[in-house]
C-alpha cells in the first residue's frame, strides 16, 4: 500500500537539537555499503540509535540497526585507559576533550526494504547506497508506514548475523510504541514470522520470549 512520505523531507542540514521529536533525526553517514548491509559512522560519539531502530538511508532505503560499536578512529592506535586517579567516568571525558575526536561510534545496519515513488517495498533495493549517504532515525510516521506489513522480517531472519533473532526482537520492540495498538502490531508481526518459519516453531518461540507480549504490557 503506498504511503505518503513525511511532509518535512529532511535535508542534510537538519540539526538534531532543533528537530521535531516526531521527525526523522540525522545521526550519521554511510562509510561502507553493500546491497544487504550498511556500515555507518555516527556524527557524534555514542550518537547511535538503539539496536533495532528503523533507519532511513538517504532518501529511499530502510535498514534496522543490527549492531553498534565504538573504537578508536585509527585502527592502528589502540585506546588506552585514562581513568587512573579520576573519580568518575565523566571526569575521564572532561579531562580529555580530544577523546571526542579520537573515538568513533559505528552502526551496522541490515537493509530491510526501500521506497520507490511513494511505495514501500520490503525487499532489497536494486543498488546499495552511496558512501556518505546520510542516516536518519525514522520518525513515527515512517515507522508506521514502513512496518505496516511485516514481510521485512524475512530479511533479518535470513541474514547471516548470529544475533539475528535479537535484532529482530529489538526492531519489533522499538517499533511497537509507534503503533496505536502495540500488541496487535507485535502479534501481526509474529504471525508473519511464524509463516516464514513453518518448520521452526522453537525459533519463533525464542523470538517471542524477547517481546513484551505478556498481559497488560
Amino acid at each position: 500500500m503506498p504511503a505518503a512520505r513525511p511532509a518535512s523531507s529532511p535535508s542534510p542540514s537538519t540539526d538534531p537539537a532543533t528537530a521535531d521529536p516526531g521527525a526523522t533525526t540525522k545521526f550519521g553517514e554511510v562509510v561502507e555499503a553493500s546491497v544487504d548491509s550498511v556500515v555507518g559512522q555516527c556524527h557524534t560519539l555514542y550518537g547511535a540509535p538503539p539496536l533495532g531502530t528503523l533507519v532511513r538511508v538517504g532518501a529511499s532505503l530502510f535498514a534496522v540497526v543490527d549492531g553498534v560499536s565504538t573504537a578508536a578512529l585509527d585502527p592502528g592506535r589502540r585506546v588506552i585507559a585514562r581513568g587512573a586517579g579520576l573519580e568518575s567516568e565523566s571526569d575521564v571525558y572532561a579531562e580529555n576533550p580530544q577523546l571526542e575526536r579520537l573515538l568513533r561510534t559505528d552502526v551496522t545496519l541490515t537493509v530491510v526494504g526501500h521506497e520507490e515513488s511513494g511505495r514501500y517495498f520490503q525487499h532489497l533495493p536494486p543498488l546499495p547506497p552511496r558512501i556518505h549517504t546520510f542516516l536518519y532515525a525514522c520518525s513515527g510516521t515512517e515507522v508506521r508506514g514502513f512496518m505496516e506489513r511485516s514481510d521485512w522480517t524475512a530479511l533479518v531472519l535470513a541474514s547471516a548475523l548470529p544475533t539475528a533473532d535479537d535484532v529482530l526482537a529489538a526492531a519489533l520492540r522499538e517499533a511497537a510504541p509507534h503503533f496505536g495498538d502495540p500488541r496487535a502490531f507485535l502479534m501481526q508481526a509474529c504471525r508473519t514470522i511464524a509463516s516464514q518459519l513453518p518448520t521452526d516453531a522453537a525459533r519463533l518461540a525464542a523470538i517471542m520470549r524477547r517481546l513484551p507480549l505478556s498481559e497488560g504490557s
Binding site: T199, A201, L213
Partner: protein, 542 residues
C-alpha cells in the same frame, strides 16, 4: 431457497484447496480460527474451480502442523505463542468430498468426476447453492428438513424417485424414525406419489400417538381423513385409544399357508422338519389344513403320522407350536373367505391408503410376521397380475404401492429373506410397482442382498458398529459417511443418501407439528401456487 429471497448472500470463504484426491476428499486449509470451529462434519462446501463449481460435504477435520517438533517447542509458550502459531505453523484442514459438479449453463448438478485445482477457493455453501442441489418443494419434492446449521434452507426429497425403489429408515430406538416415517408417509399421501400400506406395529401412524417427550403426534387418518383407512387387529385397543378405525381384521385359519409357517419358523421354534410336515399336511387336508391338524387329538396324531409316513414326535411338537396361533383374537376358526385381505385390496384399488394397526399384538412378533406376510403375499400376487395385464394391454399401470414394515430384520434376515414375500419385493418387485419402506433398528440383521437393493437410506443415530457398517454397505464414500454418521445427535438428525437425493446429506428433520399439519392440509403440495405445475397422475406414472 433464501429466507428473504431478494439479497444475494455474500459467500463465506473458509479456505483454499491444498491437496487431496477425488476418492479421499480434498484437503481444504481453513483460513481463520473462526472457520476452524464453525466448519463441522457434514457442512456443505462449494469450491470454485476455474471452469466448474464443485459442491461437497465436509467428512473430516484435522489439526495439522508444518513443524513436526512444534509440540515440544510450544511447551510453556503462553497464549501469545499459540496465537501466533495458530493459522500459520499450526493449522486445520477439512476433508471435503466433492459430490457434485455444477457447470455454468448446464441443466443441473452432475456427480463429480473431476476435481478443483490447487488453491481453489472453498466457501461455505449458501442457501441458494443448497436449494440448487436439493431442489425446492413442489409436486414431486417434499421438504424433509434442513442441513445442519442452515436452518433457513430446505432439503427436499424427490418422492417420485423415492417410491420407485425400496427404501429404509434406520436408527436406534428413540432416534426419531417414527417421526421421519410419518413425514415421508404424509408427503407421499399428499402428493399422491404412491399408495401406502402401513403395517403399523406400534399403532403410531394411523391415529394419534404420544411421542417420548409427551407430545401428541397426529396420525395419517387425522391429517387426511377419508383418504386413509385404518384397519385394526385389536379393536379393543383401538377403542381404548379413542382411535377411529374402519375395519376389524379377522383372519381365517384357512388363509394360512405353509409358506407363512416357514416365515414364522424361528419365532415359533418350528424346525425345518416341522415346516416340511406343514407342506405334507396341506397336501393331505387341503386349504383348511391348519385347523384340521390342530383339531387332531394326541391319540389321532399317531395314526395321522402313520398314514402320512411322518414322525409322530415331529407332528406332536408342530401341533404344540402351531396351537399358539389359536390364542390370537384376530384368528377365526370359521372361514372368512379372505375378506380382510380383500378389503385391504379393495381400499388400495380405490386409491385409499391403508394403515393396519396391531394394537396389543404389536408386541407379538409372531402376530406381526404372520399378518404382514399373509396380506402382502396376496397383494403381491394381485399387483403382479394387474401390472402384467396392464403391460399386455398397454393400459396405465397401477399406482405404485409402498408397503411400510417395521422390525424389518425379522422379515428380511438372511435365513428367511428367501422365503418371505418381503424378500421378493425388495429384490424384484420394483417392476411390479410395489416397493418397501423398511423401518428398522437392526439393519445388520437384514439380508445383504436385500439391503443392497434399498434405494434411499435414511439413517438416524446407530450405536452398533455392525449396524453402521451394514447400512453403509455399497454406498459410495462409505468410510467418510461413517464419520458423519458417528457424529449424529441422538434425536431429530439423520443422514440421508441414495436414489432420491443427489448426494448424501445430514438433515435436522423438520418438526412434525402444527405447521406441518397446515402444509399437509393443502391438497397436492405445499409449494406456493404457480411455482410448478402439478403434473397429473398419468404424467407422473405413465
Amino acid at each position: 431457497m433464501t429466507t428473504n429471497g431478494t439479497e444475494p448472500e455474500v459467500p463465506v470463504r473458509i479456505g483454499a484447496v491444498v491437496g487431496g484426491s477425488l476418492s479421499r476428499g480434498l484437503d481444504v486449509r481453513l483460513e481463520s480460527a473462526r472457520a476452524v470451529e464453525d466448519v463441522k462434519v457434514g457442512t456443505f462446501v462449494t469450491v470454485q474451480g476455474q471452469f466448474n463449481r464443485f459442491f461437497g460435504i465436509v467428512t473430516d477435520l484435522q489439526l495439522e502442523s508444518s513443524d513436526p517438533r512444534m509440540a515440544s517447542a510450544v511447551a510453556g509458550g503462553g497464549a501469545a505463542l499459540a496465537e501466533a502459531l495458530s493459522g500459520t505453523t499450526a493449522y486445520s484442514t477439512a476433508s471435503v468430498t466433492p459430490m457434485l459438479t455444477m457447470t455454468a449453463g448446464d441443466e443441473g448438478p452432475q456427480p463429480a468426476r473431476s476435481m478443483p485445482p490447487h488453491f481453489a477457493d472453498a466457501y461455505r455453501a449458501s442457501n441458494d447453492d443448497v436449494a440448487a442441489v436439493f431442489g425446492s418443494e413442489d409436486a414431486r419434492h417434499i421438504w424433509i428438513g434442513s442441513p445442519l446449521d442452515m436452518e433457513d434452507t430446505r432439503v427436499c426429497l424427490n418422492l417420485e424417485e423415492f417410491v420407485k425403489r425400496s427404501n429404509g429408515v434406520f436408527g436406534k430406538s428413540g432416534s426419531g424414525k417414527s417421526f421421519l416415517t410419518r413425514i415421508l408417509l404424509a408427503g407421499i399421501l399428499q402428493r399422491n406419489a404412491a399408495i401406502n400400506l402401513v403395517f403399523d406395529m406400534h399403532s403410531e401412524y394411523g391415529w394419534q400417538s404420544t411421542s417420548e417427550s409427551g407430545y401428541a403426534a397426529k396420525g395419517l387418518k387425522q391429517l387426511f381423513g377419508s383418504r386413509v383407512s385404518v384397519f385394526t387387529l385389536d379393536p379393543a385397543s383401538s377403542r381404548r385409544r379413542g382411535a377411529s378405525t374402519d375395519y376389524d381384521v379377522v383372519i381365517g385359519f384357512d388363509e394360512i399357508e405353509p409358506d407363512d409357517i416357514a416365515v414364522l419358523a424361528s419365532t415359533l421354534h418350528v424346525t425345518d422338519l416341522g415346516v416340511q410336515s406343514c407342506y405334507a399336511l396341506e397336501r393331505r387336508f387341503g386349504r383348511n389344513w391348519l385347523l384340521e391338524f390342530l383339531h387332531h387329538s394326541q391319540e389321532d396324531l399317531a395314526s395321522l403320522a402313520d398314514s402320512m409316513a411322518e414322525n409322530a414326535g415331529t407332528l406332536g411338537a408342530l401341533r404344540r407350536r402351531l396351537s399358539q396361533l389359536q390364542r390370537f383374537g384376530f384368528m377365526s376358526e370359521h372361514s372368512t373367505g379372505g375378506s380382510a385381505v380383500r378389503q385391504v385390496l379393495e381400499h388400495l384399488q380405490d386409491n385409499r391408503h391403508v394403515v393396519l394397526e396391531f394394537g396389543s399384538y404389536g408386541d407379538n412378533i409372531t402376530a406381526y410376521l404372520l399378518v404382514a406376510n399373509l396380506i402382502t403375499r396376496r397383494i403381491h400376487a394381485e399387483y403382479r397380475e394387474r401390472t402384467e395385464k396392464a403391460l399386455a394391454e398397454g393400459k396405465p399401470q397401477p399406482t405404485p404401492l409402498l408397503i411400510t414394515i417395521e422390525e424389518a430384520h425379522r422379515f428380511l434376515d438372511p435365513g428367511v429373506a428367501g422365503q418371505t414375500i418381503f424378500g421378493t419385493i425388495a429384490r424384484e418387485m420394483r417392476k411390479y410397482r410395489v416397493t418397501l419402506l423398511v423401518v428398522d433398528q437392526r439393519p445388520s440383521g437384514i439380508d445383504g442382498e436385500v439391503l443392497s437393493q434399498v434405494g434411499t437410506r435414511i439413517v438416524c443415530q446407530l450405536d452398533n458398529d455392525r449396524d453402521v457398517d451394514a447400512v453403509l454397505t455399497g454406498a459410495p464414500g462409505s468410510r467418510e459417511l461413517k464419520t458423519v454418521l458417528s457424529r449424529l445427535e441422538s434425536q431429530q438428525q439423520s443422514l440421508m443418501f441414495g436414489h432420491a437425493l443427489p448426494m448424501p446429506v445430514v438433515v435436522r428433520t423438520r418438526a412434525y407439528d402444527e405447521a406441518f399439519y397446515a402444509d399437509m392440509s393443502v391438497p397436492g403440495h405445499g409449494a406456493a401456487p404457480g411455482s410448478a405445475s402439478t403434473p397429473s397422475r398419468s404424467d407422473l406414472f405413465g
